[in-house]
Amino acid sequence: MKFDAPHLEYSQLAPLLIVLGVATIGVLVEAAVPRTQRYAVQVGLAIAGTVAAIADTIWVFNKLHPWSGEAKPGRIVAESALTLDGPAIFCWILVLVFSLLSILLFAERRLEGGVTAFAGQAAALPGTEAEREASTRGLEHTEVFPLLMFAVAGMMIFPAANDLITMFVGLEVLSLPLYLLCGLARRRRLLSQEAALKYFMLGAFSSGFFVYGMALVYGYAGSMQFDKIAFAVSAGSGSHALLLGGMGMLLVGLLFKVGAAPFQAWVPDVYQGAPTSVTAFMAAGTKVAAFGALFRLFYVAFGGARWDWMPVAWGVAILTMVVGSVMALSQTDVKRLLAYSSVAHAGFMMTAFLGARSLADIGPGEIQPVQAVLFYLTTYGLTNLAAFAIVTLVRDPSGEATSMSAWTGLGKHSPLVAGIFSFLLLGLAGIPLTSGFTGKWAVFTSAASAGAWPVVIVAVLGSAAAAFFYVRIIVLMFFTDPVGETSVAIPSVMTSSVIAIGAAGTLVLGVVPGPLLDLLGRVAEFVR
């Protein structure tokens, strides 16, 4: 027997390796660097690593010549384990940018009086002497930064995976650190721990489906590789039932991560219980990774069977939009409301998923589904990060005041924060001149182009219902008089810059989305 050393394209995989490397170094830092300096070192390391990864990713991206008319399609690397094509690399950029912003949120110390928002000593029991002591000593878990970096690595692997094993590994690498991060809140630790438990339990459960689906598809196609699966699908060989079962179970695993109905049950609880900065990171990053993977798997591997899965996708899209919009109507907690909003947005993004058509049907210059969803992910991520960042600012003596009643009259004493938040909400609602509108337009158009008219109708009606609850918050902030002792804390430059970047992105992508859309139009094609 002869072993061949696997051939790895190190230069192209560098961003991923940088992130993984930084994460590993971060773990070592925890062991080697004195407690007092760990924060500075970890933050510096994470930021530097992410920035380097972004720069490197852009360098890799440039090799596709995305700025010219004739963009290269990208290539399959790492012994067919990963695909570095336009959508994958763009997902990398998005994930990295969102994680950079998240790092800034993670590192915010001014709001809690000099410590991060993470538990000082996760092992200390809530409400015990040990916890108090940890608090007075100003302890903090700096492990969150390596955990975040591991999750980022998972988010990069997930949408770039070219076979089911890699995809599964990516899924777990992104999920496991997140489970932990969810449970690390400094305040309201019981809720935080509960969120972690629920996320973990359900996440593991859904992984089970994913793995079983993987097995069935493998049984059908005889291979884990997408191109080979696609070949088997188009050839029509093998047991169709195996294919259907496998597709269905894989779909369950992915839709769970996306937060689509009827697999959305974890979303509100986890979003509410997790530390807000983690929620922001999950909402922005996980969506990118999961939608990237969903599109790749179903367009590349199961594209030939789209008449089989399309009806399910229709139903899921409709159900997700309806559940997200309707359930949000009666929410009284801002984070929980934003969680349901994220479910609704998952539904809106699902509409782009329905835009799958054969390339021949797509006219010149017409919006393609992948282009649309990548654009939407960009806009949604930026808006959402900024919105959650603002949630961290509104506080009462017991920490963040996420109950909506605490937000009444915010516009009176903090017009700037309330104004920006309103703008972000209008963005989420999809009012023109915000990125939410252009994004919605793009995904709805791609669905409409493929003839999914009923879904588009539900989508616009859902948007109307969604507008209702976004506007409710604006009314609360501006047209109601303040009660209680809610105040808006002044953040450091880190959180402020996240808010500024998010809001600016919401505006710029709303007014001049053209360049980004054109760019995506050139590269948004999967390599098979």
């Binding site: 092992a123 496991l176 449970g183 809720l191 973990f200 089970g208 097995a215 005889g222 291979s223 509100p268």
Partner: protein, 99 residues
């Protein structure tokens, strides 16, 4: 060799796992049921690997096992903290977040 018996067995195991997740209260047991589901998948993977005549499935099975181990690490940590805070490992007790 017919794959059917193996697949049926794996399906039964998977189902038992599922049912266990739904019915058991203790977090540890629930977690074990999830592991059972993963192992049911492993059985299917290995079976198909054999049937298809390539090693992908077996490799996958190893990956799944490794991942399951990692999951155990994370999962037990979470369950431990919950247990310590609440003096209970029942998943039903953790229900503050709702509605």
């Amino acid at each position: 060799m017919s794959v059917t018996p193996f697949i049926v067995l794996s399906a039964i195991l998977f189902t038992i796992g599922c049912v266990g997740v739904l019915t058991r209260r203790n977090a540890i047991v629930v977690f074990m049921c999830v592991e059972l589901m993963l192992n049911a998948s492993n059985l299917a993977l290995v079976t198909f690997s054999r049937a298809n005549g390539n090693l992908d499935g077996q490799i996958a099975a190893f990956f799944v096992m490794v991942v399951a181990a990692a999951e155990v690490v994370v999962g037990l940590a979470i369950i431990m903290t919950i247990f310590r805070s609440r003096r209970s490992a029942s998943v039903d007790d953790a229900s503050l977040l709702k509605y």
